[in-house]
Amino acid sequence: MKDADLKALTGLCAKCGTCRTVCTLYPERKTEIAVARGKIALIEAAMRGEDGDAEGVQEALTDCLLCGRCERACPNQVLVEEIVMKGRADLAEEVGIPAWKRVLFGKVMPSPAATGIARKAAAAGQRLLPGKIPTASGLHYRFPDGLGGKGRTVPKLPGKGFLESLGKAEAAAGEVMLFVGCVFDHVFPGVGRAAYETVKASGKSVAVFRDAACCGLPAMVSGDRRSAAECAEANVRRLRAAEPGAIVFPCGSCLLMFKRNVFSLLPKGTPGYDDATYVAERAVDYASFLLSSGVLDRIPDPPSGQNVGEIGYHDPCHLSGTLGKGPEAREALSRAVGPAFAEMAGADLCCGYGGTFNVRDYPTSSRIGETKVTVAARGGTKVISTACSGCVLQMRDMAARTDPALRVVHIAELVHQALFRK
């Protein structure tokens, strides 16, 4: 790890300890190695040449949800997420990344066709799983405890993805581009559909980005910067070629990728930089688009007096925190559901998903997540709405584990319901 940028980034850390107070992981681990300050110290030590065991450092850097809470609390504005991701990348070069991740990031994710095939294979395989659980959010299968973590449930995968359900010529070109993201395409096509139809309600012509490679975030956070950069470059090239006026993202994590992270993969001077800038300037979150495009004005007056305060909003770390888009979602939601929306207890607690963290340490991820939904439910919330694919995946699993009556939805589903209410 000899990276001048990294040194400049870590040099601002005053070792004050503020990050300990907000870290999602710290209450679980109760050790300094879990928090930003410790991880930064490890990277600094490695840069001084004190790294005895690169795998140990890699392990420590991997043990993080990249929720960014530390970064937002840090008085010195230390870019923790960037430091951790850079550190992971440098280490991945040194010790490599696990083989399964290499295949996934290198072969499957950059190709839109391959992800579709992967879903079909998974959907077929899923039928072999025992233990169906009907939940308010849809059917879930319970994983056998031996595989993938005790008590894990997975949503029933649909036979058809959202994109697949669109006619060939449908939504091929338009002034607004919808970036559905892989989860809302393949796992929850209903969300993809709701987002599409509500965006269309703006009266603008809407195209759906069909040539999407994976956004690259999973590869990036695992330290596989090459695969991530390939995905990112392909995406921004194709997006720019479509010349959209705005690009709408129903998923906060995807949005973060194109608003911010992409620049660390395609920095100034690289071929993709101009395309990335073009895309970043036009990328907007779903709720902001609703507010600015007049969609919400078309909603008939929301019903009053029904289910008062039962719908809450969960702040996706990256969308509300890093990108500061919390008020927009709330505003959109109140306009759509009226007094049924109320601020939810623990709204800004991280759901514990953290992308690959959920795979690597399911028990911890689910403890954090169970706390999240339990706090909300205890506060009277019956429907948790949000705007990030990871959060939807995680909280549906957590609801299935703790309280099958708890619903977890994307705000697009609520807006859709309100718009097209009979």
Partner: protein, 463 residues
């Protein structure tokens, strides 16, 4: 460390003993940003485990360094001679809060704010408020006798410690103090332990005094042309028999520093600022705030702002809170001192610091707790220029000499640790040092607890 010692610790702690280089690196630093690697880290959950650790340390002769959150500014929790860092992070229970007799019993790893919030929920008040209250621990606060903004009215940590349970360097478990408002039996061993920086005993439990929570608070920000005007206002407020719960000062260097990065609108010519807070009942705070305002205007305040609601008060505190974080933008290394002078000498000290900054050609940023005469003197340097570093170090020594000459003290909050060890004798004299060393012998005859601190240890100071 000897393999036998490590295996004995392994038997005691299981997976709560960590010896990987990665974990050791994470316990090698504190907010001084100096680093010393420990040989191992342990996470006890009970006083008995702490006791067993110290007994093993006596048998195998390894140092034990207690550590709370590692936010100290004087290197207190750095394992300068290796050994075991004993982290209190997992001894973090609030054992009880007695709402009738107004005290709390807590484990040392409780974060200060957690206790303040728990007391608040019951209408009670734990006043100590170091700026690090969100992350520093009660154990660390006790060991450093931390103070904060409200020290001017409410005193410091020492004033709230009624009794302690601590493991001495011998491995004996000592209980000191009382759980009553009064108690005068024998020597005050509680006070002996408070501020002893983990060198006499490891606090495993504390009984802390609570007060009823004040009903209301008002914040007043007053902006002045010079430090002299502001210092005059501080003394006038005191003379007007008002005891604010905070009285903070920022000099021109600190204001410039905040201005450079944060947008806080200030009138032209602002060269000094005072921030007051008064608390009590709604009536009394309004009256006291009036008097504070009068005193400030009488001493040439350019502008006075005032707020009594949460949001408005937060807005006024912004200026003060923005300082510390913005400092690192001025230089990679900050020599952070926390001298105290008699309140009446504040203006003289500020003049001296301005002059010193010019003479030694180093940037000095000053702010602090004016009410206590406590000034945070921050010398900002690049760390890359040897001559600059030497000039800065000489400036620090000069500040200390001047402080002692004015009848002040070289540390109001941060403790001696390793940073101020070279200057200990300058303040307490040779007999003072000798008596302190004798006391250390009595609590910790084998020098197990936090060696290399307070008393000069050349190797440790150099880092």
């Amino acid at each position: 460390m000897h393999a036998d010692a490590l295996s004995a610790l392994g038997n005691l702690f299981g997976d709560r003993l960590r010896t990987s280089l990665e974990t050791r690196i994470c316990y090698s630093f504190d907010a001084t940003r100096k680093t010393f690697l420990p040989d191992a880290v342990v996470y006890p959950v009970s006083a008995e485990e702490v006791r067993q650790t110290v007994l093993l340390a006596n048998r195998h002769r390894f140092p034990v360094v207690p550590r709370g959150a590692g936010t100290g500014f004087s290197g207190g929790s750095l394992p300068v001679r290796g050994g075991v860092v004993l982290s209190t992070e997992r001894m973090d229970r609030i054992v009880s809060i007695d709402t009738e007799n107004l005290y709390a019993v807590v484990e040392p790893g409780v974060v200060t704010e957690t206790l303040k919030a728990a007391a608040r929920e019951r209408g009670l008040f734990y006043p100590p408020d170091p700026a690090s209250l969100k992350f520093s621990t009660i154990g660390g606060n006790i060991a450093e006798c931390s103070g904060g903004m409200s020290a001017v009215k409410y005193g410091v940590t020492r004033d709230y410690v009624l009794g302690l349970e601590a493991v001495l360097g011998t491995g004996e478990l000592l209980r000191t103090g009382v759980a009553t408002a009064k108690g005068v039996v024998g020597y005050d061993l509680t006070r002996m332990l408070v501020g002893s920086e983990g060198t006499l005993g490891i606090v495993t439990r504390a009984t802390l005094r609570l007060l009823p929570h004040p009903e209301a608070a008002v914040t007043v920000l007053a902006l002045f042309r010079t430090n002299r005007d502001a210092s005059g206002a501080v003394n006038a407020v005191v003379a007007a028999k008002v005891t604010p719960s905070a009285m903070e000062i920022m000099d021109r260097t600190a204001i410039d520093c905040v201005r450079a990065v944060a947008k806080v609108p200030l009138p032209a010519g602002t060269g000094s600022a005072l921030l007051f807070e008064v608390d009590g009942t709604a009536d009394s705070t309004a009256r006291e705030a009036d008097r504070v305002e009068e005193a400030c205007r009488a001493h040439g305040a350019l502008e006075v702002r005032r707020a009594s609601d949460m949001k408005g008060r937060d807005e006024l505190w912004k200026l003060r809170r923005a300082i510390s974080p913005t400092l690192l933008q001025l230089g990679a290394v900050k020599l952070n001192e926390d001298i105290v002078v008699p309140r009446s000498r504040l203006a003289d000290m500020f003049d001296f610091l301005a002059d010193l900054s010019g003479r030694s050609d180093v940037r000095i940023v000053n702010f602090g707790h004016a009410g206590d005469g406590n000034i945070h003197v921050n010398i900002m340097i690049s760390g890359a220029d040897e001559d600059e570093t030497r000039r800065a170090e000489e400036a620090v020594a000069e500040v200390f000499r001047k402080t002692v000459a004015m009848g002040g003290t070289i540390s109001g909050e941060h403790g001696v640790g390793i940073s101020k060890a070279p200057f200990l004798e300058m303040e307490v004299g040779p007999l003072g040092v000798a008596v302190m060393k004798r006391l250390k012998e009595c609590f910790d005859p084998n020098g197990i607890l936090n060696p290399g601190k307070i008393f000069l240890d050349e190797a440790a100071v150099r880092g």
